[in-house]
């Protein structure tokens, strides 16, 4: 059975292509959210195995959403993503409850698998 994914990003263009890219490589994208609060609600309802979570969101930032997800959907593996460099987030990336970080430029099913399986 394919691994289920929830994509959280306020840019529809990114969600659309990430959706198709991951599905093409065998993931099952079961939901999309455009902000942090709807992401937490959807994750609680859908129980995805993976949440691909953008860090810069219009309401709360991805780090806070990751913490909420750890409580709301503890079985989900959260992977952070952003079009900014990892350096821009400094120490926060090291202390996050998320599984890891993928730069949007480098997004691929293989990178996502590598992070999930490393755990």
């Amino acid at each position: 059975m394919a691994t289920t994914v929830l994509i959280v990003d306020d840019h529809a263009v990114f969600r659309r292509f990430a959706h198709r890219l991951l599905e093409a490589d065998g993931f099952d994208v079961i939901g999309e959210a455009a902000d942090g609060s709807s992401a937490v609600e959807l994750a609680r309802a859908l129980r995805p195995q993976v949440v691909l979570l953008d860090i810069v969101l219009p309401d709360v930032d991805g780090f806070a959403v990751a913490d909420s997800l750890a409580a709301a959907a503890p079985s989900s593996s959260v992977v952070l993503t952003s079009s900014r460099d990892a350096d821009d987030f400094g120490e926060r990336l090291h202390h996050t409850s998320a599984r890891g970080f993928i730069h949007k430029h480098d997004l691929s099913a293989a990178r996502l698998w590598a992070l999930i399986e490393a755990a």
């Binding site: 263009v13 990114f14 292509f17 890219l21 490589d25 079009s83």
Partner: protein
């Protein structure tokens, strides 16, 4: 009758009453004439009358002078009693008491001539009430002397008890006066203490002496023999009050040397900002402040160029405007007690006028520097926030689209075997690329309009109008202007049209550029909802900085419901 004639008549009356007193004192055959006491007696009355008349002339609006004259005249009235007439006795008794009430009144209201608190009003009212009741009530029960026109019912006990009660009340009032004067002195500012000096030097002593004399004469209290003897001459301490108060009210001549010192000091001073300190010391008011109205009339600044608020009237500070040819050079803000010395304030201000004009010019210059510094800081802040905005726009716009293309191409590669799928993905990638290029172009145009550099203001404004969300009419002269002027004019129009699109709910707008008197005038008018406030929003503030950096001016008229008119005048000679 003029006030001068009235004063002359009262002076003559005072002299006449003195003469009458001497004559009457010689007309009582059974008593030896006590010339020493008559001299003291007349001296006290004359000191009150003469000091009162001079104070009245010098300070016509201050009631202290009138009160002193009244006290002196009333005191003379106690001589009439020697005529042996019942009504004359009444006048004598009431006159003696009223004299004391008037003195109490003067002590309370000196130097301003006003009652300032409920306590002060109470003390003065009690003094006058006591003056009447203290004489009328005991005498109503006294049949011990004739002719007593107040006599109603004989009761020696009532006479003694009531008399003693009223005497004690009078002693209490005298001591209250001492406490009041001492408290005002202790709590007073430096100018207040200077104004109160004549009072603190004379009134407490006179009050204590009067209270002691009352206790000795009426209540039978005995002090040591020398004190008892001295109390007989206690009136002298009362006579000192009007003379001291007169000196206090009319110290102008004493100020001349102080003002001369100020002139010398200001001439020597290389730093005109020292003028505040010099004035503060001359007027003896360390709290003195200076405010200089700016030429624009917008605000007042202190000698350092910092904006100051003028205190509201009645706010515990006194203000004096120093004008030159109808124009306010400076405003003096000082302790209201200095209002008792208007000549000193006027003389010092007059002496300092030239220096104050210099200080005002310097303060204006400093105020401009302060504003320039603030404006520069705002420009830096605006620049920073603009860079942040650009960074966000790049991330959220162009970069996201390019990312989309990257992902689409990645997908296309993985679908290379499926021709239809690949074609669709490539078409999407092309569209995304197109959008990304559009956004980047718009972004670049927002950072700097290339059209302005290449073709000038008219073409750039026309392009701006074409991109606007509502119809915009543009009228601008052809030809080129200095780059800074063109840019400022362009950004005025661009910011105004951006605001029209965001806030105005307008159906039409017009951008008009004209040249007159060596200045370029840009006007942007819309028919929207108005109510724009230049103080709100960094956009307009930034525009003002940009325009004022070119020594231009920006005006905004935006009545609610009446559209908005933004007008910039940019010197370009």
């Amino acid at each position: 009758m003029t006030a001068t004639a009235l004063r002359a008549a009262l002076a003559a009356g005072g002299l006449a009453l003195g003469a009458v007193t001497v004559i009457l004192s010689r007309s009582v055959p059974e008593e030896p004439v006590d010339y020493a006491h008559i001299v003291v007696y007349i001296g006290i009355s004359w000191s009150f009358i003469s000091a009162g008349l001079v104070a009245w002339r010098g300070r016509p609006k201050n009631p202290v002078g009138v009160l002193l004259v009244a006290a002196g005249l009333v005191r003379f009235s106690s001589q009439i009693g020697w005529w042996g007439n019942g009504f004359a006795e009444l006048v004598v008794g009431l006159g003696r008491n009223f004299f004391l009430a008037l003195v109490a009144h003067v002590i309370v209201v000196f130097p301003a001539g006003r009652l300032r608190s409920g306590l002060e009003r109470m003390i003065v009212a009690a003094a006058y009430a006591l003056a009447i009741l203290g004489y009328v009530v005991p005498n109503a029960f006294d049949d011990g002397w004739t002719p007593n026109v107040l006599f109603v019912y004989a009761s020696p006990t009532a006479v003694t008890v009531l008399g003693d009660l009223f005497d004690i009340a009078a002693i209490v009032i005298a001591l209250l006066l001492v406490a009041l004067v001492v408290a005002r002195w202790r709590n007073g500012s430096r100018p207040a203490r200077r104004a109160l000096a004549p009072l603190i030097l004379t009134a407490p002593l006179a009050c204590v002496v009067a209270a002691a004399a009352l206790a000795h004469d009426e209540l039978g209290v005995s002090f040591t023999r020398p004190v008892d003897a001295a109390l007989g001459w206690g009136g002298i301490t009362t006579a000192m009050i009007p003379l001291a108060l007169l000196v206090g009210l009319l110290r102008t001549r004493l100020h001349r040397s102080v003002v001369a010192d100020l002139l010398v000091r200001l001439e020597r001073s290389a730093d005109p900002s020292d003028v505040r300190q010099a004035l503060a010391e001359t007027l003896g008011d360390p709290s003195l402040e200076l405010a200089f109205p700016l030429a624009s009339g917008a605000a007042c600044v202190d000698e350092h160029g910092n904006t100051v608020e003028l205190p509201a009237p009645g706010g515990g500070r006194a203000l004096t405007n120093l004008s030159d040819n109808g124009r306010t050079v400076a405003v003096l803000i000082y302790d209201p007690f200095l209002l008792e010395e208007p000549e000193l304030v006027a003389a010092a201000a007059s002496a300092a006028r030239l220096t104050l004009e210099n200080t005002r010019l310097q303060a204006e210059l400093r105020a401009q520097l302060v504003e320039v510094r603030a404006s520069r800081a705002r420009i830096v802040v605006a620049g920073d926030s603009e860079r942040r905005r650009l960074e966000r726009n790049l991330h959220d716009g162009a970069q996201q689209r390019l990312l989309g293309i990257r992902l689409a191409l990645s997908l296309a590669r993985s679908h290379a075997g499926d021709a239809a799928e690949v074609e669709g993905l490539l078409a999407e990638a092309e569209q995304e690329l197109q959008d990304a290029l559009e956004e980047l172009r718009a972004l670049a145009r927002g950072i700097h309009p290339a059209r302005l550099t290449d073709e000038g203001l008219r073409a750039a404004l026309a392009a701006l109008a074409r991109r606007a969300t509502i119809p915009v009419k543009v009228a601008a002269p052809p030809g080129r202007l200095p780059t800074a002027v063109e840019q400022a004019a362009y950004y005025v129009a661009s910011e105004a049209l951006a605001n029209v699109a965001k806030h105005a709910a307008a159906s039409h707008a017009a951008v008009t550029v004209t040249q007159s008197n060596g200045a370029l005038v840009v006007e942007v008018v819309d028919d929207g909802s108005g109510g724009a406030d230049a103080a709100n929003g960094t956009g307009l503030r930034g525009l003002r900085d940009r325009v004022e950096a070119l020594d231009g001016r920006l005006d905004l008229a935006s009545p609610v419901g009446g559209g908005t008119r933004l007008r910039a005048e940019l010197p370009c000679a």
